[in-house]
Subunit: 340 residues, 2 copies
């Protein structure tokens, strides 16, 4: 049994050293061939690439990250993967970073804040080059860990004057106010709300009710789903508002398009005409909002822009190019369609 092991042995992975041996160069030259090919002679480069192909060598990014102190990994914590609002956002965010050679380490936090702290710790142990958090409420311990990590941090989907470092999102109170103005100005004197279990949604709802009342309207009832948004929850909430609160006319402000869709279906099943008898307004402007029947009036959040700007902010800090603004309010837009 020769001790030479140019072909890879049993469990051992192929290393740069092995590739180098095969190409007749040292390990360092292999490293250079991959990171700075222009600093290696064409002939050497050719032999190295051949050896790489023969051995099926895949660089060990763990070792690379340890040595260079750059993991090219970005942490992202979002409430839910199955909620299209967040998944489409994270798709834009990921794509931007993928173009720059980064990978995303993604975790769901759920809507209970308690899980976040442990997740942050686990994520930081992978030494990401930056981290994204959803929302602006984090425990003291979480903030401490984040600051200690010494990496760029962005909080999304909300804004505050005191972000951990940077935030990009929009003002939920203002969104609630403008939705109330819109529905009142449409001639609705009565309104109800359907809200999922989500702190930001609650904040919008409170702002909505406050403003709608201030304008002179009456809030007939508030239905909380007690869980994530779903079509079923929307149907049940409308049923509740009708049967328990005697809702017969006016407007309904839903905390998501998904809930609004449920309300739309329940109204249709009950033979209630939308928007004539009941005006229904969603939130988010999902892709399908315009394809519902009637097309859904809603508050549009540009999730793609949100993802891109969050990524840009982090990239600017990572590359130390430019100074991204600490508070980036991307706003929202009320989209009037047929349902309200």
């Amino acid at each position: 049994m020769a001790k030479s092991d140019i072909t890879k042995a049993g469990k051992g992975q192929v290393t740069m050293a092995a590739v180098g041996r095969m190409a007749g160069v040292s390990q360092v030259t292999v490293s250079r061939a991959l990171s700075h090919p222009d600093k290696v002679s064409p002939e050497t480069l050719r032999r190295i690439n051949e050896a790489i192909k023969m051995t099926g060598f895949v660089p060990n990014a763990l070792a690379g990250a340890l040595a260079s102190k750059k993991s090219r990994l970005i942490s992202a914590l979002i409430p839910s993967l199955t909620n299209v609002v967040y998944s489409s956002f994270i798709t834009a965010f990921s794509e931007k970073f993928r173009e720059h050679g980064y990978q995303i380490l993604l975790s769901e936090t759920g809507f209970e804040q308690s899980a976040e702290e442990a997740l942050i710790s686990t994520h930081l142990s992978r030494r990401p080059d930056a981290i994204l958090l959803t929302g602006i409420h984090h425990s003291v311990q979480a903030r401490r860990m984040l600051m200690g990590a010494g990496i760029p941090i962005v909080e999304v989907w909300d804004i505050t004057d005191s972000p951990v470092e940077m935030c990009v999102g929009f003002d939920h109170v203002e969104a609630g106010h403008r939705a109330a103005d819109f529905l009142f100005d449409q001639g609705n004197v009565q309104a109800a709300t359907i809200t999922a279990q989500d702190e930001r949604a609650r904040r919008r709802q409170a702002a909505f009710s406050e403003q709608f009342t201030r304008r002179g309207g009456a809030i007939v009832g508030d239905a909380n789903t007690g869980g994530p948004a779903s079509i079923r929850a929307g149907r049940q909430a409308l049923t509740h508002l009708i049967e328990q609160h005697g809702l017969t006319s006016g407007a309904i402000f839903c905390s998501s398009d998904f809930l609004a869709q449920g309300a739309l279906i329940e109204a249709q099943a009950r033979g209630i005409s939308v928007p004539d008898e009941l005006a229904i307004m969603g939130f988010g402007d999902q892709d399908y909002a315009q394809d519902l029947e009637p097309a859904l009036t809603t508050v549009a959040i540009d999730r793609t822009r949100l993802g891109c700007e969050a990524a840009d902010a982090l990239l600017a800090r990572i590359d130390e190019t430019g100074q991204p603004v600490a508070v980036n309010n991307i706003g929202f837009k009320i989209v009037k369609r047929a349902s309200a």
Copy 2:
């Protein structure tokens, strides 16, 4: 300026050695305190934990993985994050692994196969302890890299007699056949299909048409969306079938519940009664399928079970406990509701 640096210096991260210095023990003892606390005296443990708290120490998982050759990282490649079918599946998969102390490195491959190869390579460079792929079609080069990695591999959402290593999914041809049988047995003699741009969906559609014809039915038309499934695509496809293929009655087999929902809305907008004039059948059994009006008849795939069994198969291989089956057919179930 003393050379002692018990408090962490400028950019340097806190290491086990630093924690050890503060607690008056060596680096190894700190390591042990974290991995095998029972092998450390209570008093020492107390001092170490105190030092950890004071310094805000977060272990470097990169270094740990390099030394132990275990990254506690699982790679997952799925076609799309925004498609609830896959995101709910991956949520179950992730949850199972999270319980076992693993994190998921997730990437979208899109529905074009070409991107997969590069993604596999990038993922393998992080030295995951296992990898999950969607589908059973992979390039030769991809298979080579996968086998060379020497880690457990599971392919999901489809089955084949020759998986790279293991697969858990269901038979798409059989699903198409049974859907055809179902709709024909319901008394439909005409049928059409609406199919998204997805290889597995196409395979189901082909099997459906074949079987429906074999039974004596007639295929009126096949609408391909040419893109991902969406409500809009469903509406447009039904419009196409009606206006271009003269579809007036019979059944429609949609490749996803999302498309079926679009068809439902378009039918409603056109005043076509479902299921009396047109029977509509979806695929996937999304949570909301039963809450549509009329409730959607569809083919149920247990995505949670799929995620759990895929995770279990990998875990069994990682821990070398038990020998998971190479081909795990979890089947499907036709769920009759009101729409067909």
